[in-house]
Symmetry: C2
Subunit: 481 residues, 2 copies
């Protein structure tokens, strides 16, 4: 393409939301002019599916749930009065709670104010709050925030060492939609132990964000925690940043949650328009479709040029991959859909992996440029809304359920099974050394699984001893008396 035809193409395919200052430039995606008309039918279906979703349809059929994250920033859209009130009431409670913490009306028993937040959560319960805290935080925040977002004991200790002498001024938010996530429960128990060790009453420092009636919710109620805020089954973890999951820590940090919600609501409005050429979210979805031929054949590389957007690529990785990485389509056909997403930050990445993007294997897409006028609460809200809707549209274009996560659920079940095996294996250990195979026979389990469990136990429990041999099959394991 000649330079001047590129300039013409740019003018044709540069979409600008004037009043928002948001721009999306798709002119460097080399789709043919007929592409949009060829996709019109699929796009119309996606617009229709989104309208139904927003109106309260069971848009997540596998889990028989509504999908309501768009209502969170515009409660008037909620399909009934009860939900509308619930959203409004919760947002009101969040603001009041944060205000009370800031003024010291809600304060630690030992006096002084809460100054620090420790958020315990994983996946959808951590990535959104982390992204927003990093994108919008500053030295002037009302409170600072720490995260336990994994299940690594050494990682826990690192965080505790950072806040140990401030534990008395620390408010802990435990976030788990199901209320039963193992990693989050580990983090909570370790934190509670840490408070006990310092002679502080954990329950007077703890807030739960969880489904009403979940294990965590009942635990918090029974133990007299400071507060409980609801997660709803119609909000997925990866789109929960505008529910209490994200708003609660934001409000405590002193960030402008109303602006954040308004930015999202305005972007929702602009991307609700059923006109491809004026709909930035549909343009993104169509470009992803074009680049990967609707089968995710290209990786999506995200290069944000502002330091504050460093975690956006990680946030997007979850949003896109968890939503779109699916085995079956809505008709039950095996399709193995998805789009791989990676990236860190602009200039830094240019000095790292852009070598490969320029010269190397051709497994990523041509470029789209998204620009926004500022990294503030309003615009970050708008950015999130743009990509949430693009992902939803893309799910419709390729006919999958973008709102469940059977693979994560299966992974949780596998982890539970392994923990059960670990308990069984431990009871088989004696002072006399045994091989993995012998123990596997005794507990009727797979020898390799048992070997890994034994290795893990030997690395983490001083009582358990491994005697390596030439070959792992001959390794022996015992327990000290």
């Amino acid at each position: 393409m000649t330079t001047s035809s590129l300039w013409l193409r740019f003018q044709k395919y540069f979409l600008r939301y004037e009043e928002l200052g948001f721009c999306v430039d798709i002119s460097r995606m080399n789709f043919p002019d007929a592409f949009f008309s060829g996709m019109q039918h699929k796009a119309d279906n996606a617009f229709a599916a989104m309208r139904e979703l927003e109106a309260g349809a069971i848009a997540n059929p596998d889990e028989k749930r509504m999908v309501g994250h768009y209502w969170l920033r515009n409660a008037k859209l909620a399909p009934n009065e009860e939900l509308r009130r619930e959203i409004e009431k919760t947002n009101q409670r969040i603001k009041q709670f944060a205000a009370d913490v800031h003024t010291g009306k809600i304060a630690p028993e030992q006096g002084a104010k809460f100054e620090h937040i420790l958020l315990i959560g994983i996946g959808g319960s951590a990535l959104g709050p982390q992204f927003v805290a990093d994108a919008l935080g500053s030295e002037r925040d009302a409170m600072d925030i720490y995260f336990l977002d994994n299940t690594d004991p050494d990682g826990f200790d690192r965080v505790f060492r950072k806040i140990d002498n401030q534990l008395q001024q620390t408010l802990v938010i435990v976030t788990s939609k199901s209320g039963g996530t193992k990693e989050t429960r580990n983090g909570m128990l370790e934190t509670e132990a840490q408070f006990n060790q310092c002679g502080l009453p954990f329950n007077k420092h703890a807030v739960a964000v969880t489904g009403v009636g979940s294990d965590l919710d009942r635990h918090a109620e029974k133990n007299g925690w400071v507060a409980r805020f609801p997660m709803w089954d119609w909000v997925g973890g990866r789109t929960s940043v505008m529910s209490a999951v994200g708003l609660m820590p934001m409000a405590l940090q002193g960030l402008k949650i109303d602006n954040f919600l308004r930015g999202a609501a305005v972007m929702d409005e602009r991307t609700r328009v059923a006109d491809i050429s004026q709909n930035a979210a549909m343009l993104l979805a169509l470009m992803w479709y074009y680049a990967g031929e609707g089968r995710g054949q290209k990786d999506m590389v995200v290069l944000p040029y502002k330091d504050r957007l460093l975690l956006f690529s990680r946030y997007l990785q979850q949003l896109v991959m968890e939503s779109l990485g699916k085995e079956k389509d809505l008709d039950g056909n095996v399709v193995h859909q998805g789009i791989a997403v990676y990236g860190n930050k602009g200039s830094t990445d240019q000095h790292a992996y852009v070598q490969q993007l320029r010269d190397g294997v051709l497994n990523f897409r041509e470029s789209i440029t998204v620009s926004m006028p500022d990294v503030d609460a309003f615009n970050v809200g708008a950015l999130i809304a743009l990509y949430e809707r693009a992902v939803g549209f893309y799910g419709s274009l390729v006919n999958i359920n973008a709102y469940h996560q059977p693979g994560v659920e299966a992974g949780k079940k596998a982890a539970t099974k392994l923990l059960q095996l670990q308990t069984k294996v431990r009871t088989q250990l004696a002072s006399e050394p045994k091989t993995a195979e012998a123990i596997a026979r005794a507990v009727d389990a797979d020898a390799e699984d048992v070997f890994h469990v034994l290795q893990h136990l030997a690395s983490n429990d001083a009582q358990i001893v491994a005697q390596p041999a030439e070959d792992p099959g001959a390794d022996k394991f015992s327990i000290r008396n």
Copy 2:
């Protein structure tokens, strides 16, 4: 495959370096038994190429350079006495310098000790130090460390706000191999301005790590900086963490650089053995080859299960993608090689994108498990050495130069050209508004480039005004008098 045959396969393909406690399990890669014998010839060539490289051959033919990062941890291997002495002397100077800073022998003019490090660098000059600082750092470190690793003014300000009141106790390390990297120079100038503003003499706080005789080196000499440490042209940025680039900040932080180097040296020794089945680095390279059919057809997803290894995936992304992402092979054929790498950290990722890995698009590899006994200086050194050599071997397997980065150089040139265009465009601005096309004609440049430059200027310079129109081609730009 049945469970018991998996257990047999595990025993066959589980490699353990007993004295190191390092294990590599490739049994879940479903290569056929004949794979290794089929690859024997290519592997032998790779072993031979690596022997020549380590002996001082011009292993980077495009840049006509030796490739000597293996000598950094075992100076006796250096191909001549002069290099050997240079390496040993530099390591000695680094340790002495750090000791002098810790005791206060080298101290700020205004009294007290240096307590903080600010490292300015990008790409290879930042990722290694960042990874190591995060993996090995603790609250007990001798000094803490901050980074300017991008060129975002707001990002600079965020770091300055964190260390502003400690600037007097801050030692600045400016790291650039070429000594002319634009982002690093920006960071240096901004930092110098910050020191001036606080009435502190920047030169008495600044250390250079750069090629001898580079612009930065001469600048540092002329201005009487505290110290200068060399980078050598036979060490690439992405493998420079065991040169002054990585060792200098590590030593200041109080980390054990001798252990770090020894871990790498021991791993080098084990992976120098020309026996596929006993060589962990060759096993990794062969598995990458197997998974992507020697053409990078699968992505490499890295899930480290320790919080301390969070940045390892980013480090590896640079090491692998910059080394292997190449347009041409060593014979000049266009091959577009490379392997895409991404990942964050274990459990967290299971709750994010593992949904796609389990169910979605089949564009990543089967699994390899690498385990190490601890995350300490010795083992992190060993881990880096393992992957450095695996990348080198893979480069040989696919017949590319793994040691240059023409795409990065081309990117730097393009950036320079755009900066020149920016200067020209600015001179064309007048109080009377003009379109991008009009200015482009005047400076004989591409209209789209000029449009982007104008947008950039209008966003960052209060004097320059953009008047958006219906269409970007009709936007007008002017400068205030």
